[in-house]
Amino acid sequence: MRDKYPPPAPVASPTKSADQQPSPPAPEPQALAAPALRSDDPLEPAQAPQAVTVTGSVAILQALLTEGVDTIFGYPGGAIMPLYDALYDYTDRLEHVLVRHEQGAIHAAQGYARSSGRVGVVFATSGPGATNLVTGLADALIDSTPLVCLTGQVFAHLLGTDAFQETDVINITTPVTKWNYQVTDATELPEVLAKAFFIARSGRPGPVVIDITKNAQLQAFEFLGYTPCQHIRSYRPKPLVRPEYIREAAALIAAAERPFVLFGQGVILGNAEAELRTFLEKTGIPAAWTILGLSALPTDHPLNVGMLGMHGNYGPNLLTNECDVLIAIGMRFDDRVTGRLDKYAKQAQVIHLDIDPSEIDKNVKARVPIWGDCKETLPLLTALLEPKTYPEWVQRFRDCDQKEQEAVIQNELHPASDTLTMGEVIRLLNEQTGGEAVIVTDVGQHQMVACRYARFKRTRSNVTSGGLGTMGFALPAGIGAKFGAPGRTVVTISGDGGFQMTIQELGVIQQSGLQLKMIILNNQFLGMVRQWQELFHQRRYSFVDIVSPDFITVASGYGIPGQRVEQRSELASALQTMLQHGGAYLLEIMVGKENNVFPMVPQGCGVSEIRLK
């Protein structure tokens, strides 16, 4: 990196000081000069760049404004106080959401990014503030969520001295970030922040951490304006689209008798929902989704055959091992999707479309790799294909669906017994929201049930922790999702276990008056682990019988109304009350204690060994 920053003019630092105390500002080299600033930039008229002496903190906030940031999730502390001090003057332009724990901040930023398609921004202080971000960073990296996290750091001259609240943030976050960088000199800030936003949102998105020492936040320097980054020499956001592979793939698809599309979040991240739909409708190929790809294609689309993976639908899993050409679009063949790899689609020729070259051949060998953004590659592929339908092949999925309806779905959505099921809650929710809501789920049984049965009409409507499986994700992510899509109904669905992991974020709802609808599906167990213990550990229920507080009373302590539902007769009206209430609302629904999620591909089995019970 050093070579990228032109060395400061020789007059600036006559002596090299190891502690990097704020030095007299160096004249800014011409290379960093901004051509023209946006006209809405309050510091500058839209003319030739003029140097303004500002602190690093002000430069940061200017950078955020130029990047179009409107919401920040954060928590102040010692090492980030200069930035918060500067923020005090920016509250008319930047909304800062004070969370109750930094993990809440980063999950909220994830929810914001997922529902809005923009970069989520987090402020946290050094030491514990920064380490509390780690779970969210790992979650955002594995689920390709664009985030820019700014962490405070001790003064540069204290680095490595075990100073108060000092921790080695760069090395702690290296495995869980797409990129990270420590700034010790304010003059670096404009270029580093520009890189941070560019890297976070381009290519396969991911989280970026910028660790900023307190002296850099305080340091006054000659700020010449902020220019967003367009290009980094060593970074290829998108690989070259190779026409020969497109042709090869098209020939393979044209000759196929039983082609099958699997799509993931790549479709949503690439804003390629329309391109996917055009491709499917022209080629007539049935398509199934990973849980992160959910909502990219409307649920009631005739070619949408359902969910892949461990608790996915029966047909898509079974027929993965019967298709002859498998077209994977923006998905990464996670083990929860593939089950045992040596029993996965061995008969099929695989075409893999992905923006990240390292995903090709990582888990499943591709016969034809199509490297690139599926927004670009899908239309190229569509153009080479003739309109077609596969009535008999699609009928196979319908037949499987019928079998699954009888064995599982009917009982789950319309149970005969008095015990409430998670499925019927989702069914009633679908009826009342019309598939227009953003559904944010936590991790566990309720997550699988919600993904299986929630119906969606719009993209970016399903927010869940897929890759990392972070319990406690839903409440803060739901807060963020509501900030990211303020005009939409946002409903979080949690279990009784996960809700307690980040329950403190109810305080954010109270303070901001956010209209977030929360459902707890309470089975009085850590249900998914209990299900595994029942099925694979001879019902040895080891530490899954969690005792919960009275959630309704807890919520009322935060000024949030709610009610507990135990009878089927109350359910529909309770959901209606929740959705129609003019503020946040918590609904705790007591569901069957030992209900299981089926179908299921047991671990270590192939996808075609999917069990209906």
């Binding site: 990270n180 070259p357 670009e376």
Partner: protein
């Protein structure tokens, strides 16, 4: 697929923390790094990592792709031993009286192409460069003569088939590079080309 020795050559930006970012790709997969060298490359400002591992080609290919995925990495290449020219440097510290008195030692040192770097009354430091077996051989030879210290450097390697990185780098620096580079030519005009 059986394991064999691969030499991975990585061209990177020269950035603080990048060594760690590269190293954890190995440790995360519990792969032992046999040797690691960082040095400047033929291009000013571009660093070059040379990493040696014993792994299957499949694993090494995935590792190379993970490396290229890193923002500050330009390219990663992997090669088997026959595709590279490589050398290591070794230093041997031996008591001067031993070699001064024993004619045999002098002959052995000459046979192994060793060069004296430092000669003092009490000890002498010899240096050889060569492949692992060659530096090892001299180590065994010197052991009976009171070898005091031994150290060997990491491997440095030149790829036989490579034309250097200059040409590649020039393309990397352009926004819209030529067709031989893995860069999306439509990147900067996406909306115009792919308006649906």
């Amino acid at each position: 697929m059986s394991k064999q020795e691969y030499t991975i050559t990585v061209y990177t930006e020269n950035q603080v923390g990048l060594l760690n970012r590269i190293a954890i790709l190995f440790s995360r997969r519990k792969i032992n790094v046999e040797s690691l060298n960082t040095s400047p490359s033929e291009v000013p400002g571009i660093h070059r990592f040379t990493v040696v591992v014993n792994e299957t080609e499949d694993v090494v290919r995935k590792l190379a792709r993970q490396m290229e995925k890193q923002v500050d990495v330009l390219r990663a290449f992997y090669n088997t031993g026959d595709e590279i020219v490589w050398q290591e440097l070794a230093l041997y510290k031996v008591p001067t009286p031993e070699i001064a008195e024993k004619v045999k030692v002098e002959r052995l040192l000459r046979e192994h192409g060793a060069r004296a770097v430092v000669i003092r009354q009490d000890y002498t430091v010899f240096e050889t460069t060569g492949q692992r077996e060659e530096t090892d051989k001299l180590l065994h030879v010197l052991e009976p003569f009171g070898l005091i210290e031994f150290v060997r450097s990491a491997r440095v390697a030149i790829i036989k088939a490579s034309d250097g990185f200059h040409a590649l780098l020039k393309d990397f620096e352009f926004r819209e590079p030529g067709p031989d580079i893995l860069e999306n030519e439509f990147l900067d005009k996406q909306d115009k080309v792919f308006a649906m």
